[in-house]
Amino acid sequence: MTAVLSILKSGASRKVKFLALFIAVLATLSLVRMWADVLDLTSRGTISAALGLAVPIGLAGLGGLWAERAGVVNIGLEGMMILGTFGAGWLGWQYGPWAGLLGAILFGLLGGGIFALATVTFGVDQIIAGTAINILGLGFAQFFAKIAFSKAPGGGPTQSPSISALPTFTFDRLSDPLVSLHGKGYFIISELAGLISGVFFRLSILTVFSAGLFAATAFILWRTPFGLRLRSVGENPHAADSLGVNVYLYKYIGVLTSGVMAALGGAFLAIAASGVYREGQTGGRGFIGLATMIFGNWRPGGTAIGAGLFGYIDALRLRDANGTAMRAIVLLGALALIVLAILAIRKKRYQVVFGLGITAAVLISWFLLTTALPREVALVAPYLATLLVLAFASQRLRPPAADGIPYRKGESK
């Protein structure tokens, strides 16, 4: 562990650091798996389910990223996601899944457009506008779902008829041997095997597409002049304006893209995850997406990791029949806190060390004193993790400087 930490501290390239971190995570998982005796921690089923659960959250987070990089805080992701599920269901059951995707994009543009009109053109408070979008998106989807699906064959007032499935890929030759390797329970190797077999098991084409969106976002926002301008609008719109950047235009682009991403997250829920539009399907994932984005320090890679974490814990919760995996999560959390505490010791921030240490001790004793834990523990874990990151690592977080501040051309603060 300390070796990994010293690599992370050193001037090694980002690839090396990432690899070191990856191995450290695998090793931790492996240790927890052995100690808590839960093989399902990295089984093919768990990883595959985690991926499926992570994608909609990640897309919502990516939506949040696009808006906030352009300086607009988007609390309305949930409403835009709901619009996406409806768009996907509405066009999807009639004209097939690809049309469903298009429907989600259109409704995402609608949600993003209304939000942009309020926040960019009229410059109203972004949190309130976001709240309004959440109410509007919900009402809109419920209203039109009743009209569109009530009389449709196999549909109902709160559910669309089923949408035909998109292709999924299973690489049996790769996946199956790895599953048996995972079953052997070797240190680290089994974890790696489970991970790879899970990724290549019933891989939805939408998952691949979503991964592409992450890569594209990272490239566009950080490697192109367009992206530099968009981010400059989120950092210092007045300076951007003085350099001839059309601030309103870039904010509109950011917010519209945000709506599309969130809606695509909704489309994934409707098309790939369940095959129908269903009322209440999003279940707060828009807010979770927001959390992953913050967890990921307003960056695509970090957002993806955050979404992976949320998806992983959710998958464990859903697959955990006897509460043993939940117990493992508590241990995992304790180990993570210990790592953070070690980092804090190096920085001589003893108050933080004390807080983290006490929490870790409580978690470990909880782990030792119980044999199974209720599923609700998992419900809390990712939010608690985000809150802890915000509380104890906020000096490492760097949101866009002008995030959340309404911009008026020619009016400085």
């Binding site: 949190i127 309130i128 506008a129 309004a132 509007l136 919900l138 915000l390």
Partner: protein, 353 residues
């Protein structure tokens, strides 16, 4: 007098716009808007509906005042949902398991609710002043954590029981711990007794804001933190107090329903009054009377919507109209604010010549 009209214009425009928008949707789907609205008003005029409206409005009023206390200081308490759910769950457990003599039970239960609400909001307050975490984000996280915590508390292995309809919840609250209601003439159901507490809260909120040093400091920080600091206000301490107060009021949100009608907290307890509170606080401009009107309007829309399904239009049109109200009211505020600024500038400019 003119100042009053100015503040009323924005909400009225917003409501009018929302009615217009609703009418267009109704027309598109082949319903006569005027007829529909008349039917809604007719339906809402029955004693039963009026009782329901007063009851919902009571709940909304608590929620909106909780949000408004934060708003006065530019604090966004998005966490009312989590605060009241946790507070109501704990209150329901106490009320369900312990019997108190006389009216002591009600007093204890209300106190516990307010304490739990304040404590949950206090976490966000501490994170804000000690660690610089935005209360918007922390309260969103705390909402979800509250849901998990409640699910844990309600688990049959912990404190929950299976209620009559096979739903997991708290034991039914005994008669002594219930808040007695008052009935409107000929109404089949009583109005929540807690409506009087809501009225008292409105007076208290008004008094606190306008007649106390604390209220003055609160408003001063909201209008200009730097000016407040310059005049000796401890902004951090005010943030904590405001958040605690907001949370304490939020703790009351679930009680009318719990102690006046449902008598048990189940996992299906309504969970979204917090966002309604944000909308209503906004509509009522954080003013105790304005909020009362906003709460009544919201409750009227909710209750009268029940008739819509019978007319062939999905009742969710009301949710769309509510969303339109929120969005157009903030836009209207912003536009009127800009007009005012421009007028002021013009006045200053012409005075200089």
């Amino acid at each position: 007098m003119f100042k009053r009209i100015d503040t009323l214009i924005a909400p009225l425009v917003a409501v009018a716009f929302s009615v217009l928008f609703g009418s267009i949707i109704l027309l598109v789907f082949g319903a006569n808007p005027i007829e529909t609205f008349i039917r809604m008003i007719d339906y809402a005029s029955t004693p039963r509906s009026m009782t329901l409206i007063l009851n919902s409005a009571t709940t909304y009023y608590f929620s909106a005042v909780a949000v408004a206390i934060g708003f006065k200081m530019n604090l966004f308490n998005i966490g009312v949902n989590g605060q009241y759910r946790l507070a109501t769950a704990v209150a329901a457990l106490v009320a369900g398991y312990i019997t108190f003599p006389g009216y002591l039970g009600i007093v204890v239960i209300i106190a516990i609710s307010m304490l739990v609400g304040a404590a949950w909001a206090g976490i966000a307050a501490w994170l804000k002043v000690a660690r610089g975490v935005s209360e918007v984000i922390s309260t969103i996280m705390l909402n979800f954590i509250a849901i998990g915590l409640i699910a844990y508390l309600m688990a049959p292995t912990v404190l929950g029981v299976k209620t009559a309809e096979n739903v997991i919840g708290t034991p039914i609250i005994p008669a002594g711990n219930r808040f007695p209601g008052v009935s409107l003439p000929t109404a089949p159901i009583p109005v929540y007794g807690m409506i009087f507490l809501a009225v008292a809260l409105g007076f208290g909120y008004w008094y606190l804001l306008n007649r106390t040093r604390f209220g003055f400091d609160l408003r001063a920080v909201g209008m200009s933190p730097s000016a407040a600091v310059a005049s000796g206000v401890n902004v951090k301490r005010m943030t904590v107090y405001a958040m605690l107060l907001s949370g304490a009021v939020a703790g009351l949100v679930g009680l009318p329903l719990l102690l006046g009608a449902q008598y048990t907290f189940t996992v299906n307890f309504p969970g979204n009054y917090g966002f309604t509170g944000i909308a209503i606080a906004l509509l009522g401009r954080n003013h105790p009377v304005g909020i009362a009107f906003g709460a009544l309007l919201w409750a009227f829309l909710d209750v009268s919507a029940q008739i819509l399904d019978l007319t062939g239009v999905p009742r969710e049109i009301i949710v769309i109209m509510q969303g339109v109200i929120v969005l157009s009211v903030v836009i209207a505020y912003e536009v009127t604010r800009r007009v005012k600024v421009r007028r002021q500038q013009a006045a200053v400019g012409s005075a200089g010549q």
